[in-house]
Symmetry: C2
Subunit: 156 residues, 2 copies
């Protein structure tokens, strides 16, 4: 059903306002988390994101898989993985039969360190979203699950 033109204008304005607020809140929460990680663990958000991705795959990930999952360039991920490896938090494993590719995975120390930070991270997020009731969290979560509607990328 198509809404009358006047209503469509109001709706698109309402969605624009929603988007600008989402952007503002996301940036503020992200900045707060970045600061907490720095102060409490002397850690950066990109390093935390890389470790979170690796934590989910115990067998490790290829660099290009890791890069795709994080939506950042291969070059950026390589630099972060290098520094995590220097700190003994991740390790590179050769893949048999594929000399050009290596797997990256968390070391036992890396898994311990990530678990500690993840518990704190969940607590920080809980405090930052304190105004969100269980019902709202569930309702908005469901809604966001269906977004974005159309990123211009063809779906098969």
């Amino acid at each position: 059903m198509t809404a009358p033109l006047a209503e469509q204008g109001t709706l698109s304005k309402e969605r624009l306002r929603l988007w600008l607020r989402m952007l503002r809140v996301t940036r503020q929460v992200e900045a707060a988390l970045r600061e907490k990680l720095r102060v409490e663990f002397d850690f950066t958000l990109p390093r935390f994101d890389v470790m979170a991705a690796l934590y989910r795959d115990c067998d490790g990930l290829k660099m290009n898989e890791l890069s795709k999952r994080l939506r950042v360039s291969n070059g950026n991920v390589t630099g972060i993985v290098d520094r995590l490896a220097d700190d003994g938090l991740v390790e590179r494993i050769a893949i048999e039969g594929d000399r050009r590719a290596t797997l990256v995975r968390l070391t036992p120390d890396g898994r311990d360190a990530f678990t500690t930070m993840a518990v704190a991270h969940e607590r920080w997020v809980d405090a930052l979203l304190d105004g969100v009731s269980p019902e709202d969290a569930h309702h908005i979560g469901e809604l966001l699950h269906r977004l974005p509607a159309d990123t211009g990328v063809q779906r098969s």
Copy 2:
């Protein structure tokens, strides 16, 4: 009222899931808008953001005000403003009695260009958030307006 411990755990997990979805959706929508701006106007998102901030203040903004409003470093803003000035979209105006500071404001061409892009931008956002009903947009907008609850920055 404090919830029992088990419920608190569930609630913080629900808020964490909500946060991760917000982050994912925000990044996807932002990436889609970035791509649209590039393809349709050969323009970048940081340039668009700077012009949006200047559009609201017809009298112009000082560089440090602009930088604070956009939450990016002075150095980054300077580079973007330089390129916008080269393209005739913004102009720098000397402030009487303050030799070190200049105002930046949109030129008439800049206001025209921004208006055209802003109309398209609103249309893109409308399409990207197509799954959001007017009621949801309003409800979530109100909720986000009160977030984040606590960024660790002291409030006066």
